[in-house]
């Protein structure tokens, strides 16, 4: 089959690789109908997260049709059109039973390697480094989905592929970020980042009862989408002297009740702190640029909630004292997708949520490297690229 592979830092190529097959009894093989780029892919493409191996198939956000199932798969079946969350979960361990899905104990074959860094292992992910499991990703014609009964969610008939594909990761990650804020009706939520996850977090905050959502980014095109497709108010941080002051002005001096950080380790900023981070990251002395996170900690109201859903590695110059003295509540996790996908499918069916506006560009898998370039550089207002791996015509 054809698949988009990582061959080294900033070196993606579409290659011919072996087809996957059923290995374990709860496996299914999915014919990928649609997959999408995720900002967190840029971290390992750029070499900021270790343990990729040359030849790895990437892609962790996808949906498709089941074409084969293992002997112990009982609920889903051949022919089902399903969306699959990016974290692989067993459904049986203590963490899955407590809805802490991305912390599943039984799906990371490289748990020992990852524990050396994190203390304890996370669940495995598709196409996202060997520390996170080493599983082949979804930017391919076919992908093996372990624990198919737990991890495959049938897509209702009326929904289009581009409405369903983002419920694999961007949707549930953003929704979880908003749930973490424990929003009371009418509260104000500020969201750093207007990429796929940030926009989904903004939409989710409104669905969960926020009175106002204020979005912060620097790309006018993305800020326009936040206003028009989501209903957020916006701040372009390159056009204001201080995001903190802008937020204070907009909230009667109180600050937002909750802040969601949906940017992650490759944040951009404007000040001296940003230049310091950039230099250290370039020298590989630390992995993270933390401007958005620091700003969110500073801007959040006293006693408010900070929800971190951007992906981080190791960061220094972290303003722990600001967090502590202001009594912030910090909530964070990788997405517990299996908890939220059914809700998001319902919202979509009822017409309250339509994530398909994220799909600004469609590419053939053959042009995968070019697609990621475009996505990384936000060319032509690119929010997300979707691939249709069985459509070989270059777009």
């Amino acid at each position: 089959m054809r698949a988009l592979c990582w061959n080294g830092v900033n070196d993606l190529r579409t290659e011919t690789v072996p087809d996957p097959g059923i290995v374990n009894p709860h496996d299914a093989i999915l014919k990928v109908r649609m997959s999408t780029t995720c900002g967190s892919d840029l971290h390992f493409i750029g070499g900021y997260i270790p343990t990729m191996r040359s030849g790895d198939i990437i892609g962790h956000e996808f949906m498709g049709e089941i074409v084969e199932t293992g002997p112990d798969v009982k609920k889903v079946k051949k022919g089902d059109r399903v969306v699959v969350p990016s974290f692989i979960c067993c459904g049986q361990c203590w963490f899955c039973q407590h809805e802490l899905w991305s912390l599943c104990d039984n799906t990371n074959p490289n748990a020992e390697m990852q524990s050396a860094v994190l203390g304890y292992p996370t669940a495995g992910i598709y196409g996202y480094t060997h520390a996170f499991g080493g599983y082949a990703g979804g930017h391919a014609e076919y992908v093996r989905v372990p624990h198919a009964d737990v991890d495959c969610f049938p897509v209702p008939e009326g929904l289009r592929d581009e409405q369903a594909v983002f419920l694999s990761d961007a949707g549930p990650t953003g929704y979880m970020g908003a749930v973490f804020c424990d929003i009371k009706p009418g509260e104000t939520v500020a969201v750093w980042g207007c990429g796929g996850v940030g926009l989904m977090a903004q939409k989710s905050a409104l669905l969960l009862g926020a009175g106002r959502v204020i979005a912060i980014d620097r790309f006018p095109e993305r800020l326009r989408v936040a206003r028009e497709n989501v209903g957020s108010e916006t701040i372009n941080y390159e056009e204001v002297d201080s995001v903190l002051e802008a937020l204070q002005d907009m909230t009667g001096g109180r600050g937002p009740d909750a802040c969601i950080e949906a940017v992650g380790m490759e944040a951009h900023g404007t000040g001296i702190q940003y230049k310091y981070d950039r230099a250290k990251q370039a020298l590989r002395m630390h992995t993270d640029r933390g401007d958005a996170l620091r700003e969110a900690i500073m801007a959040c109201r006293k006693g408010g909630t900070l929800s971190i859903i951007g992906v981080y590695g190791v960061m220094d110059k972290f303003p722990l004292g600001v967090m502590m003295n202001k009594g912030l509540t910090i909530r964070t996790a990788q997405q517990h997708g299996q908890k939220f996908v059914p809700k998001l499918l319902e919202h979509t069916e009822r017409g309250e949520l339509d994530a398909s506006f994220l799909a600004t560009h469609q590419f053939s898998l053959e042009d995968g490297a070019r697609a990621y370039e475009m996505f990384k550089n936000k060319e032509d207002g690119c929010l997300r690229v979707v691939f249709t791996p069985h459509d070989s015509k270059p777009s």
């Binding site: 040359s54 067993c90 039984n106």
Partner: protein, 255 residues
């Protein structure tokens, strides 16, 4: 019994390690990235980067940092409860909590067919004349073989075993099953101790095994847990990539 020369060499080796395990991992990773980048650059700046990278790798692999030594810093010392093991007499203890009763787990572990699947990442385990025959490939491509037999059984709580004379690596071990708090299941602790024979062969065996036990034992427990809780063990067998159709799990077992 160890002779004086071995003791001296061991002390010397231990004295040279002054970088902690996490820092060694980080050092090696960052060093590797720097060297890889530098090689691509082929310039004077690249050369400097390569030097820094090479030093980091050296520090990570050997655990010795010259600057730490001069500054009197040592990040390798951990307390007795930590993970450091005596390299010449490998002993390892790991624990995992499994969501089943002690009795159920005891029975599962006692079945040789289950044990063979659990240990399959590093050993072939086959029943032979009332004992279990173990065949393990070491990291330096040696093959170690031994037979083990049960020595003590406490129904539903503890199993222990030791090797019969004649194997290439004497060892003994036990596994205990203790109920965890608040319905978390059972705390399973696996303990193994290897007794390398004396002489040069013994030293090289010990060296080979120094790399193995903690991750291998931890992996065995995780495999046990997954098999019991889900009926399968997570695997990268036949995992497609541009490298081919399988990814062995990195635990030190040679394919």
């Amino acid at each position: 019994m160890e002779d004086a020369a071995v003791m001296d060499r061991r002390r010397a080796t231990q004295r040279r390690i002054n970088v902690g395990p996490f820092e060694r991992l980080a050092s090696t990773t960052v060093g590797g990235i720097l060297v890889a980048r530098a090689i691509r650059k082929r310039s004077l700046g690249g050369f400097a980067e390569a030097l820094v990278g090479a030093n980091l790798i050296y520090r990570g692999v050997t655990g010795y940092c010259g600057m730490y030594s001069r500054l009197g810093v040592n990040t390798a010392i951990v307390n007795k409860a930590g993970s450091q093991i005596d390299p010449d007499s490998p002993e390892v203890r790991r624990a995992v909590t499994v969501g089943r009763s002690p009795e159920e787990l005891y029975e599962f572990w006692s079945n040789p067919a289950n044990l063979a699947r659990i240990m399959d990442h590093f050993a072939e385990v086959t029943p032979r004349d009332g004992a279990l025959h173990w065949r393990v490939r070491g990291p330096l491509k040696q093959v170690f073989e031994w037979d083990s037999r049960p020595v003590e059984e406490e129904a539903g709580r503890k199993l222990s075993w030791q090797t019969l004379p004649g194997g290439t690596l004497a060892n003994h071990g036990d596994v205990t099953f203790r109920p965890g708090p608040n319905g978390t299941g059972t705390e399973v602790t696996l303990h193994l101790k290897f007794e390398p024979p004396l002489g040069n062969v013994g030293k090289s065996l010990a060296k080979a095994f120094r790399l193995v036990p903690r991750a291998v034992v931890g992996q065995a427990l995780r495999r046990f847990k997954s098999l019991v809780e889900t009926g399968e063990i997570p695997t990268l067998e036949h995992n497609p990539s541009a490298r081919g159709s399988s990814d062995t799990v990195d635990t030190g077992r040679e394919a």
